[in-house]
Every structure is written in structure tokens, then in C-alpha cells.
């Protein structure tokens, strides 16, 4: 691949997948309120 194409590939992956990683980290730092979890239906999911 050409250097400029590789650069854009890397930037695209860093911004978009990086954004996904950051938003996942943010979400896992704020876990769901356990009281609000149901217990009965579809436990396998």
C-alpha cells in the first residue's frame, strides 16, 4: 500500500475504533444499577 493510504487507514481505525474503545471504557466505568436488573427471564443472555 502507498504511505498516504496506510496513513489514512491508521487514522480511520484510530479515530473510529478508538472512539468505540473509549465509549466502552466509559460505559464499563459506570456499571448498571444492579437493583434495576431483572432476574427471571432469559438468564442465558
Amino acid at each position: 500500500m502507498t504511505p498516504i493510504a496506510i496513513t489514512m487507514l491508521v487514522i480511520a481505525l484510530l479515530t473510529i475504533w478508538g472512539g468505540l474503545a473509549l465509549s466502552l471504557v466509559n460505559l464499563s466505568r459506570h456499571p448498571e444499577d444492579e437493583d434495576q436488573l431483572p432476574e427471571d427471564i432469559a438468564p442465558e443472555l
Binding site: M1, I4, A5, M8, A12, I16, W17, S23, Q36, L45
Partner: protein
């Protein structure tokens, strides 16, 4: 927080609103809805055609300035007002119910043709094994498979090879919809979405090992910086983001109405939005690696083989499947991905209609799901597995996107922001339990940037479609099934708004009243 739904103040006992059993399942379902056929067959070409690597800049700008803010708007409306699109909008403002019905009808139109594409993809999954198209994928699609009539119109002349798979698709979908939010929608997404991701990753890896893949990636990522000076490229970015995220046609309002009260709305929304984009980038890599191989095998340039939509999926990919090593596997992965991506999106589209009927009539889940899905399935089965199905599908798709989704979104954001002036209320709601907080910025993006972008796109669409007949189809055909259909949606939406809410309906739901009272108290204290 919540009160039992027993008899209260003389009201008849009502079932409690269903909820997603966990935030994770909501996020999976919302991603399943957002990741659809468009991510796979539309994004790669749009990006390539609008500046290649340089498209990333308008794309990110559109995502952050319009896509995510509009997604949050849907979440805020659905979650705060806890209803299907018509009910949530009615609770937002009495005069807004019609917006909800408009969105429900848009979903009806999309559902009847979307299922057909899933049926085609299901058949092509099998054809990949037999390589049924021989060495002429285009001729096979239009002739043997779809048996497309020479002249656009509506003929009830059926093609069994599409009729039967379409029937099966509808039966599967009806079972999922009848089973409800937890047992149906959540489970289907919990299975289909991971399967889609695994299959698609395998497809991308396989594509990357094909000879010529590198040329495809070069074509896809090499930036054309001059494109950034073209307003058309920016409009393409906003248009793509808007359609890709499934915002403003009731889906996210409906799904977020099934969330528990204390849910991190914006935090979840960021995951959904970036997962959707992450999948698109992956699709761009996979599709262009495969197109690079196709160009090399044919001894042509990438721009001669690059295409989108039906042409990419059902003509270019079959050609690649025939020529690539382990082509059958590649075909099964690609068309299987289309089937799963389509199914999870179709479920969410239908849920908008089912939830609306359920709320307005007060019927139970099974009755609502059956009374919505069976007629929708029948209409789909009557109109589309025919020799003229492709023309109708193409026209419905083009006009409902522009004058259903886009026009509806513009009217909704303008009314909510400037006429009903509800953005401060919704912004407070978003900030109440969410981790990504925004107030003034969000209001400016939703109230100013989004309407401007939407108005510009709608104007462009209007000019293009009025200056020359879409795809050169006959004017009277477009007048009925294009313009007429889009206009009818508004008329029927008004009629549905005028139908009174049933006494058993959710309009005076005590469960919602208790929650609203709780929230008011919280604000005071």
C-alpha cells in the same frame, strides 16, 4: 421508583411496559438496528466516491455534529416519555402525535420491501455454494432470478424463486415479533449480531488475502483532498450518517422506551454510534479488498468495478465468489452477513409499528404483533416477489428515504426545537442519568446544525427528483408509487392521529404517571 401496575384510582389494570432485561441487550439491539444493509453495501462506495481517505473528515464531522446529537434526541424522547413514537410524541406535545404516526408509516413502507432483500440474500447464500449464476451474474440476477419485466409498473405475475424464501423470512420474523422484547427481540439480537460480526470479520480476513486486495485498499484510502471543497461531498457524509444510524424514524424512540429509568443514555448511545461506524469501516476494507481482486482478475481499474447497492451485492460479489479461491465460503459469509444484518434491522423497523398499535389500542403483545405483522407480511408478499418487484422496491426506497425519513426528520427537529421548545427539557433528562453530559452544545447541534443539514439534503433531493424522472421510470408510475406514496404517508398519519385512543390504551398509563411524578419531585428537591 416504579409502582406495581395494579388497579389505581379506578383505572383498569394494565400490563407493565416491557423492558430490555439489561443495558447490554439494549445496546446489542440498537447496534443490530443501526448496522444494516447500508453499512455493508452503501458506505464503502459512498466513501470511495466522495474523496476516499479524505471522506473521513466530513464523515466524522457529520457523526459528531448531527448523527450522535440526533441519536440522543431520539433516546431522550423515547426514554422520557416512555412510549412508542406516536405516544412519546403526544406526551411531548399534544400536537406532535402526527409526527409519530408519520414515522410509523415510514417504517411500514420500509418493512414491506426490506424483507424482500433479505429473501434475495438468503437465496444467494445457497447460490454461492452451487455458483448458480455461472459466468454472467448480471444476466442471472435480472433474468433467471428476478425475471424483471421490461417496463416498470405493478404486475401481479409471481416469481416462485422469490415468493417462497420471502414467505419463510416473514414466518421467522413474525415468530420473533410475537415473542416480545425480551424473549424475541433481545434473543434474536443476542444471537444474530455476534454471528454477523464473526462472519463478517472472517470475510474481511479472507478478502485481504486475495491477490489485488492491496490495490483495492489503496483506492479506498487514498485521499482526494480537493473533494473537501465540494459541498456535495459534505452532503453525502451527512446523508450517509443520518441513514446509517437509523435516527428520526421512530426506531430509537421505541427501543429507548423499553429502557429502565436509570440508564446511561448518552454513554450507551456513544457505544452504539461508534460500533455502527466501526462496522462500516470494516465493511469498507472488506468490500474494497474484494473489489481489488475483482479488478485484477478482470484486468480493469478499480473505478470500473466499484459500485453500491444491488449491483455490488448481487452482481459484483457473485462474480468475485466465482473467481476467488474458496469462493463458496466467501459467498456464504457475505450473503449470510446480509441476511443477519437485514434481520436485526427489520425487527427494529417492525417494532416501531407493533409498539404504536399496542400503545394506541391497549392490546397485548401477541394480538398487536399478529395484527401488525401478518398484514404487513401479506402486502409484502403480494407486491414484491413479482416480475415488477424490483422497480417498486427501488421507487419506494428512493422516495421514502427522501420524502419520508428526511422530510419527517426536518419537520420533527424544527417543531421540537423552535415551536414546542422542548430541547431544554430533553437535555435535562439526558443529563439526569447519563455519563456523557452536554447541554448548550447539544441544543445548538440539534436545533441549528441538524435542521440546516437536513434542509440542504432535502432541497437537493427535491431538485434532483423533480428535474428528471427517477431512473427514467414512467412519470405516472413515479406519480403514484413515488410522490403519491410519500404524500399518502402524511395524509394517513393525520387520519391515524384523529382516531381516538382506546380506553384501554397506554395514553393515561398509571405506571408512566407515577414515573413522571417521581421525576418532578426529584427536580424540586
Amino acid at each position: 421508583m416504579t409502582t406495581p401496575s395494579s388497579v389505581q384510582g379506578g383505572k383498569p389494570a394494565q400490563e407493565r411496559r416491557e423492558t430490555f432485561s439489561s443495558r447490554k441487550l439494549f445496546i446489542l439491539s440498537a447496534i443490530g438496528s443501526a448496522v444494516g444493509l447500508g453499512n455493508i453495501w452503501r458506505f464503502p462506495y459512498i466513501a470511495y466516491d466522495n474523496g476516499g481517505g479524505a471522506f473521513l473528515i466530513p464523515y466524522l464531522a457529520a457523526l459528531l455534529s448531527a448523527g450522535i446529537p440526533l441519536l440522543f434526541l431520539d433516546y431522550a424522547i423515547g426514554h422520557k416519555f416512555r412510549g412508542s413514537a406516536p405516544l412519546a410524541y403526544r406526551r411531548l406535545h399534544r400536537g406532535a402525535e402526527v409526527l409519530g404516526w408519520w414515522q410509523v408509516l415510514v417504517c411500514f413502507i420500509i418493512a414491506i420491501y426490506y424483507a424482500v432483500i433479505i429473501a434475495w440474500a438468503a437465496m444467494y447464500t445457497w447460490f454461492s455454494v452451487t455458483k448458480a449464476w455461472g459466468d454472467d451474474a448480471a444476466g442471472f440476477l435480472m433474468g433467471d432470478f428476478l425475471q424483471v419485466a421490461d417496463v416498470p409498473g405493478v404486475k401481479l405475475e409471481y416469481v416462485p424463486g422469490i415468493f417462497w424464501p420471502l414467505l419463510v423470512v416473514w414466518l421467522v420474523i413474525i415468530v420473533i415479533m410475537v415473542a416480545g422484547v425480551r424473549r424475541g427481540i433481545s434473543r434474536a439480537n443476542g444471537i444474530f449480531l455476534p454471528l454477523l460480526v464473526v462472519m463478517f470479520v472472517l470475510l474481511v480476513v479472507q478478502s485481504l488475502f486475495l491477490p489485488g486486495a492491496i490495490d483495492g485498499l489503496n483506492a479506498f484510502f487514498t485521499p482526494n483532498w480537493e473533494a473537501l471543497g465540494d459541498p456535495g461531498v459534505w452532503a453525502a457524509a451527512y446523508g450517509h450518517i443520518f441513514f446509517s444510524l437509523s435516527v428520526a424514524f421512530g426506531i430509537m424512540v421505541t427501543y429507548s422506551s423499553y429502557l429502565k429509568r436509570k440508564t446511561d443514555l448518552t454513554g450507551s448511545g456513544m457505544v452504539v454510534a461508534f460500533a455502527n461506524s466501526g462496522f462500516e469501516i470494516l465493511a469498507g476494507i472488506g468490500v474494497f479488498a474484494a473489489l481489488g481482486f475483482m479488478a485484477q482478475a478482470a484486468g480493469s481499474a478499480i473505478d470500473e468495478v466499484a459500485t453500491a447497492g444491488v449491483g455490488l451485492a448481487f452482481i459484483a460479489f457473485p462474480t468475485i465468489v466465482s473467481e476467488a479461491p474458496f469462493g463458496a465460503l466467501m459467498g456464504v459469509l457475505f450473503f449470510g452477513s446480509l441476511v443477519f444484518a437485514g434481520m436485526t434491522s427489520l425487527i427494529s423497523i417492525l417494532e416501531v409499528i407493533v409498539a404504536a398499535v399496542q400503545d394506541k389500542t391497549g392490546w397485548g403483545r401477541v394480538a398487536s404483533a399478529v395484527s401488525v405483522c401478518v398484514p404487513v407480511a401479506l402486502i409484502s408478499i403480494v407486491l414484491f416477489p413479482t416480475v415488477t418487484g424490483l422497480y417498486l422496491l427501488d421507487t419506494f426506497d428512493a422516495f421514502v428515504n427522501s420524502f419520508g425519513i428526511l422530510a419527517g426528520a426536518l419537520v420533527a427537529v424544527v417543531l421540537i426545537s423552535w415551536v414546542f421548545r422542548k430541547l431544554p427539557l430533553l437535555s435535562t433528562h439526558l443529563n439526569r442519568t447519563s455519563t456523557v453530559k452536554m447541554r448548550r452544545t447539544w441544543m445548538v447541534l440539534v436545533g441549528v446544525v441538524a435542521p440546516l443539514a437536513l434542509a440542504y439534503m432535502l432541497y437537493n433531493e427535491f431538485v434532483t427528483k423533480i428535474t428528471e424522472p427517477y431512473e427514467g421510470y414512467p412519470v405516472e408510475f413515479l406519480a403514484i408509487y413515488g410522490w403519491g406514496m410519500a404524500g399518502a404517508l402524511v395524509v394517513v398519519a393525520v387520519i391515524l392521529t384523529l382516531v381516538p385512543w382506546s380506553r384501554k390504551s397506554k395514553v393515561d398509563d398509571p405506571e408512566y404517571a407515577a414515573i413522571a411524578a417521581d421525576e418532578d419531585e426529584e427536580k424540586v428537591s
